[in-house]
Symmetry: C2
Subunit: 429 residues, 2 copies
């Protein structure tokens, strides 16, 4: 992949020695991220951008050390400097990140030796062993239920929602997602479901309440399990839903249905075969299942900044990689749906609520945390909008299982006509 | 994978030396195909079946040579002997094959040295090079349009149909399939579409007629292209649809949309990267496309009898293998649908028409051909019913392409309520 030739306008004084070094460092940044429509400003000096590109935002860098770090490793250095307040951004953060993702060479891997080294180091340090997973999950999901209550929906669903129409509320869209999954699984009263990675329990409770199934739901986040158990008790569903604080690798009971929403991202590719074994141990050849996860259209490591600060051990597989979970046991893929734009919209809602709760969050956490979260949410919106990340829902069935729906039409029975779809299409094209 | 222990009842005289050899050969057959509920009868002698299994059909073997061949290589020997008339089957052929597919160890590969050797030999002899493909395609698709007219639908669509309800006619279901593909692709008037492997041209003509697109459609079957061109002329669509008698590897124009229905099966896995290149050369990063093909839920060679007698060079990939077409160019998978039961139903219609036209076919071809075709159709029904074969439809989009539909609901707008679905589910469960 060739990099753009970087030529700046004349507004950057190259006779000045110091400016020459800065110019070189900026060139390195542009070489790494591609010809992004961004303006850089160093120490309040002159603004620099690529000629012929109209910038969507200005990145104000406070000190030379930050500039040097960004030249070495733009992604991680930008993230850390933004969270530290060593960088200020003038303009809309999400739009700026979107512009970078758009210009960043497609299939961006960590290309430099330094980047590959730190990526490998991170992978080892954050390995998703039994203990490693517990640590990785604890560091994010146990930040405090009160924190998540401020910006998630009322049911605390921390995965991609399904918006029947783009104007649905977040509450409607999360409820719609829970139900969509149940319908995709064609749940029947009396069936036994196992859920691997159940978050705060919304899906398990929805299944039991509306579809008459019994659910055993696993999670290694202590805070989430405590919350889920309390909710089950309050709603009189404790006899139908059992919340177990344990690792998915320890699931060994027999079930009709396996479901996992937003957990594959926390499993290492090297453990996919094991995940397949666990699924097969649970539901065998006659069972069926459902996987919902953040994926990618090309192989590549997850953002190192996200792995360093937000989701240690995370990985977003391609559909081909995810097949390593299902193929060894001859599970037939029945349906795959890509909902990446629904995830962009979900996170737009989260970010809006997050900003509305800004004052409360500032009272609970330090400014670093608040800025890091903002960057994580804005970056997620950008990645799902641009297609750097995808969201896959996969329905699958064992080799002895008979498909339960003749067509997918039943999933959409009673759906509104496509009119609103078309309006949306025109609005974004 | 362990094989069943074969123990016959006492009705087989083991004191007789000759019977001892026959018994051993029958054991080999059962070891290969698993504990199938079949009865074997040799030279009109005693009937043999596994104890405790109630047979669905009786296979009458005429001579010892056929029995020996079946012991060595049950699949190919059975196919050839059935087509030759050296074997007669008492009972329903499709049910018998279904029983075999059900008992055959899942993921059945060619296990014996002899089977692997002949499989490899076939692969080399039937390689899908430019010339090889022309030969392979000619041998099946140029059997004569008059032959296919006897048992395909009126539009001559020789791929899996889409039955909105199980009771739809074949004509309705093929028309519905053509339209379903257009809607999945979200075709817009004025767009340019390229079709790789266009059969007798029904999809290309449907797209041009109903969606206002222009289509360039490729096929190396001379008979099919001549038929398609004549139909385009008769329907006044020659200016919108160009039928080109050439190999998919030679497509090099620019298009908005790439579509291929029922051709991936005729491409070698080693050529998938090349197929990806051709797609990318045609529609780039901003285009989109659609693949429809017979697939599998596990890796394994295609039936050697089918490759030997019906479809030389054929292969049914797993979804993971098919990703090798799309992943190198970062195509995002938007939608995968598995329609295997629709293919079973499609071939049921074909077989019914084939049998109804039996007298005519007998006048056109020799008995061998008629019996071979019957076996191929019945075997296909069985394979799609049991899940030995799958049918995948994949919608994909380039990394710069924006998804055009917010949800899939528009695909099913106006669809009948799910009532008939449910009736079907109960009827088959």
């Amino acid at each position: 992949m060739s990099h753009p030739t970087v030529t700046f306008g004349n507004d950057f004084d190259t006779k000045n020695r110091s400016a020459f070094g800065e110019r070189w460092m900026l060139e390195q940044i542009f070489k790494a991220i591609g010809p992004a429509p961004l303006r850089f400003m160093f120490k309040g000096g002159e603004a620099v951008s690529l000629p012929g590109v109209s910038p969507v935002a200005t990145i104000v860098i406070r000190d030379r050390k930050t500039l040097a770090q960004m030249a070495l490793d733009p992604e991680v250095a930008f993230g850390d400097a933004y969270a530290d307040g060593r960088i200020e951004l003038e303009g809309d953060l999400t739009s700026a990140l979107e512009a970078v993702y758009r210009s960043w060479p497609s299939g961006r891997a960590d290309r430099s030796f330094y980047q590959r080294l730190t990526s490998t180091w991170m992978e080892r340090r954050q390995a998703n062993s039994m203990d490693g997973s517990r640590h990785n999950i604890h560091s994010h999901y146990d930040l405090g239920n009160d924190f998540y209550k401020l910006w998630l929906d009322s049911q605390m669903v921390y995965t991609c929602a399904y918006f029947p129409t783009p104007s649905a509320t977040l509450e409607e869209a999360q409820e719609a997602k829970l139900d969509y999954i149940c319908r995709k699984l064609n749940l029947q009263p009396g069936e036994r479901v196992v859920e691997a990675g159940c978050g705060w329990g919304a899906l398990a409770l929805h299944m039991a309440r509306h579809y008459g199934v019994s659910v055993k739901a696993f999670n290694i986040s202590h805070e989430q399990i405590m919350f889920a158990r309390q909710r089950a008790a309050e709603e009189g569903l404790s006899d139908k839903v059992e919340f177990v604080e344990d690792d998915w690798r320890n699931i060994d009971d027999k079930f009709d249905v396996f479901v996992s929403v937003g957990m594959v991202e926390h499993i290492s590719v090297s453990d996919y075969a094991r995940m397949g074994q666990v699924i097969h141990r649970c539901v065998g050849d006659s069972g069926r299942g459902f996987l919902h996860f953040i994926g990618r259209s090309y192989k590549g490591v997850f953002s190192r900044w996200i792995r360093k600060r937000i989701f240690p051990g995370a990985y977003a597989p391609t559909l081909g990689e995810a097949m390593n979970i299902l193929q060894p046991h001859h599970y037939a893929v029945l349906d795959v749906e890509n909902l990446r734009l629904h995830y962009a919209k979900t996170v737009e809602h989260w970010l809006e609520r997050f900003e509305q709760a800004g004052q409360k969050i500032a009272e609970m956490y330090d400014p670093w945390f608040q800025r890091a979260c903002r960057l994580y949410l804005a970056g997620s919106i950008a990645a799902f909008r641009i297609g750097t990340l995808q969201l896959f829902q996969i329905s699958f069935a064992g080799s002895q299982s008979v498909p339960r729906a003749w067509t997918r039409a039943g999933l959409y029975a009673g759906a509104k006509p496509a009119q609103e779809d078309r309006q949306w299409t025109h609005a974004t094209s």
